[in-house]
């Protein structure tokens, strides 16, 4: 994910197909309830970014999401999509321009995968050929083979596959904005992780504006460019990058919501490829051990990395082991601590701890060896991330409530003022 980009509220960035969203002093009141469900929220969602809405259940985050596509009509306020005020246009017409994904995909069980994906393009009057081509393209995008899955019914798919088709369906008419309501809540943890990774990849390619509701803070940290933390009544407690929320939680509520292990969670923000790896002495199978030992000692290292003909690491002998060998033998060590460069520091640390080596071998493209990551490197990355987050200027998009925050004691006159 390109976290280094400066946030932009315009469509000027190249490759960004998303549009910005602005909720302008939006309030939702339900008849018969004294407190509004959403209280005068002003929220700016930058184009081409993933914004996560998180908060405890019943805090109004889903209501806020559904007011963006007006599945729930706001009682007051304006909704602006890109440069268009969409507050009073036809709701169905608006929703055809906004992708919508719900938990478990929400696929229609009586329609095939292809027919499910084709719903919005059909409503928009696309030709048959164009729809068929688009269906195949989207199935490819979500890593499902079109020939295998096109004519299946949802019942014949696993939960993860259904969710993928749900995403494909939402993207069918290439909408600039994608809304997702707890999209990965109904799948098992392993599938969830894979779907999250895929969403990150898809987003890198498409650069839509994506708003995701979740109650899982770890998911928010993993996926979000920006995170909005809500308390009851959709009061925005903090709206910032995951790094800054972890480093500087706005108040105790946020701290509690993050839960324990904020430091460890920061590790999920950095990828192995983003840190400086240590170098290693590389040896090939069949080399004389004495030559390798000489090189290791010259470099002042304790180990040498043995790679095979395709540069994949196979063994990791120590100086003492090398001293006992004539030549470097063939054969791979199955317990070798290896980690891909796309993995998070969290995963890398886990691999190190499990292998008890205090370090792990990093592989890049086609599993070729590229360097060694050590505990020191990880510690260094944490320190720098904290410093960087603390030093970052407050360039967050706007997110406020006109109503008073409950922590201020909610004086009555202020509440009247906001309602006016």
């Amino acid at each position: 994910m390109s976290r280094t980009d400066t946030p932009t509220t315009t469509d000027a960035g190249t490759g960004v197909s998303g549009k910005s969203i602005l909720l302008d002093q939006v309030t939702k009141r339900y008849a018969g309830q004294s407190k509004p469900a959403v209280d005068g929220i002003t929220l700016e969602i930058p184009a081409g970014k993933i914004v996560m809405l998180v908060g405890p259940s019943g805090c109004g985050k889903t209501t806020t999401l559904k007011m963006i596509n007006r599945l729930i009509e706001p009682s007051e306020g304006r909704i602006v999509l890109g440069d268009d005020d969409v507050t009073s246009i036809d709701g169905d017409e608006l929703r055809r321009r906004i992708g919508y994904v719900i938990q478990a995909g929400g696929l229609f069980p009586h329609l095939t995968v292809a027919a499910n994906i084709a719903i919005v393009p059909k409503m928009l009057g696309w030709s048959k050929d164009r729809i068929a081509a688009r269906v195949d393209e989207l199935l490819e995008l979500v890593s499902l083979d079109p020939d295998t899955y096109r004519d299946r019914f949802p019942r014949e798919l696993s939960g993860g596959q259904q969710q993928r088709v749900g995403v494909a369906r939402a993207l069918a008419a290439d909408p600039p904005v994608l809304l997702m309501d707890e999209p990965f809540g109904a799948v098992d943890p392993i599938t969830r992780q894979r779907l999250q990774d895929e969403l990150i990849n898809i987003q890198q390619e498409l650069q839509k504006t994506i708003v995701i509701v979740t109650h899982d803070f770890d998911e928010a940290v993993k996926l979000g460019d920006w995170i909005v933390i809500f308390s009851e009544g959709a009061h925005i407690v903090q709206y910032d990058t995951p790094e800054r929320i972890l480093a500087e939680p706005a108040n105790e509520f946020v701290e509690n919501f993050i839960g324990s292990g904020a430091g460890l969670k920061q590790l999920t923000l950095t990828r192995v490829r983003d840190v400086d790896l240590a170098e290693a002495v590389v040896a090939r199978e069949g080399e004389p051990a004495r030559d390798v030992l000489a090189r290791v000692e010259a470099a002042g290292h304790q180990h040498a990395v043995v790679v095979d003909a395709r540069d994949r690491p196979v063994r990791w002998p120590s100086v003492r082991q090398l001293g006992r060998l004539e030549t470097i033998p063939a054969g791979a060590d199955p317990d070798l601590p290896v980690i891909g460069s796309a993995a998070t520091l969290n995963d890398a640390l886990d691999t190190m701890l499990v292998s008890s080596a205090g370090a792990a071998l990093v592989t890049g493209r086609r599993d070729a060896f590229i360097g060694v990551i050590t505990v020191e490197v990880v510690m260094d990355a944490i320190t720098r991330a904290r410093e960087a987050a603390a030093a970052a200027s407050g360039d967050a998009p706007v997110g406020t409530n006109t109503g008073p925050l409950p922590v201020l004691g909610a004086p009555d006159d202020a509440a009247d003022g906001s309602a006016a």
Binding site: D92, I102, F108, P109, H110, V120, M123, R169
Partner: protein, 278 residues
């Protein structure tokens, strides 16, 4: 009152094994799941018409060979039996058509948000129509509307409206609310969601209600003879009044076979019309 609570419940009571005769107090919907057992269902679909044909064949042979009195012979004349059957079917299908025209739209309307509150009272009325003794209903209406085909049809309609209405409502209510939301979220209008998502998914439950109603109607149409509207019931009344047990049994048998045949046709339609993928 039970029908009202049933209607709001999520899981309809499974049909009793003898439900096909349709005279039980609960003309409840069969759960859609019962039809998942494809193989036994298919076997039933094949066996049922064979059994009906066999019974009908046996009756025809008996009719041709039995030692009948002149009175019995006249009453059981094949041409007459065909006439009665025609009248019987006319009563059944005329009532069924009216039932569908009233109950299907009513069921749809009563499940829409603005009218949901009215569903309780209306189901209570429909329930009353069902709970009242059919013969009482037929005679009562005849004394008001005159002894005619029309009176019989009105009584039958009142009697058979409940299963169709209730199953339409249950079928629509049991469609996952998230699917409706997904449809609206994609920009489908409320009407489009109704016709392309809700109704197709409710079809199995609705069809089983319609089948129940048809079987009820075939049975109850036998009572039309009391108000001079003809039908196979005539054989039964003749048999009773003139003490001709053979005629009486023949009438009862033919009505039962007709009910089973209609039931079978309904099952075939349910089997064919069930949306794929369910």
């Amino acid at each position: 009152m039970t029908a009202v609570t049933d209607a709001s419940g999520t899981a309809p009571a499974p049909g009793a094994p003898g439900e096909g005769t349709g005279r039980g107090p609960v003309a409840g919907p069969r759960p859609a799941r019962a039809h998942r057992l494809r193989r036994p269902g298919l076997v039933g679909l094949v066996v049922q018409p064979l059994a009906i044909a066999a019974a009908l064949g046996a009756f025809a042979i008996w009719l041709a060979t039995a030692d009948l009195t002149a009175g019995e012979r006249t009453t059981l004349d094949p041409a007459r039996i065909l006439d009665y059957t025609g009248e019987h079917l006319a009563l059944t299908f005329a009532s069924a058509a009216i039932v569908l025209v009233i109950a299907l739209p009513l069921g749809v309307v009563l499940t829409r948000a603005p009218f949901r509150r009215a569903s309780g009272p209306i189901l209570a009325v429909a329930n009353f129509g069902q709970a009242a003794p059919a013969i009482g209903l037929v005679v009562l209406l005849a004394s008001w509307l005159g002894f005619s085909f029309r009176a019989a049809v009105v009584a039958l309609v009142l009697y058979a409206i409940l299963p169709v209405l209730r199953n339409t409502m249950i079928g629509l209510q049991s469609v996952d609310a998230r699917l409706v939301e997904a449809g609206r979220g994609m920009g489908m209008s409320a009407t489009a969601v109704l016709f392309r998502v809700e109704l197709p998914l409710a079809v199995p439950v609705m069809l089983s209600g319609i089948r129940t109603a048809l079987v009820l109607l075939v049975g109850s149409a036998a009572l039309a003879t009391f108000v001079g509207a003809g039908g196979l019931g005539l054989l039964i009344t003749t048999g009773v009044n003139l003490f001709l047990p053979k005629v009486l049994v023949s009438g009862a048998l033919l009505i039962a076979l007709l009910a089973l045949l209609i039931d079978w046709l309904g099952r075939v339609v349910e089997h064919v019309a069930r949306p794929k993928g369910l």
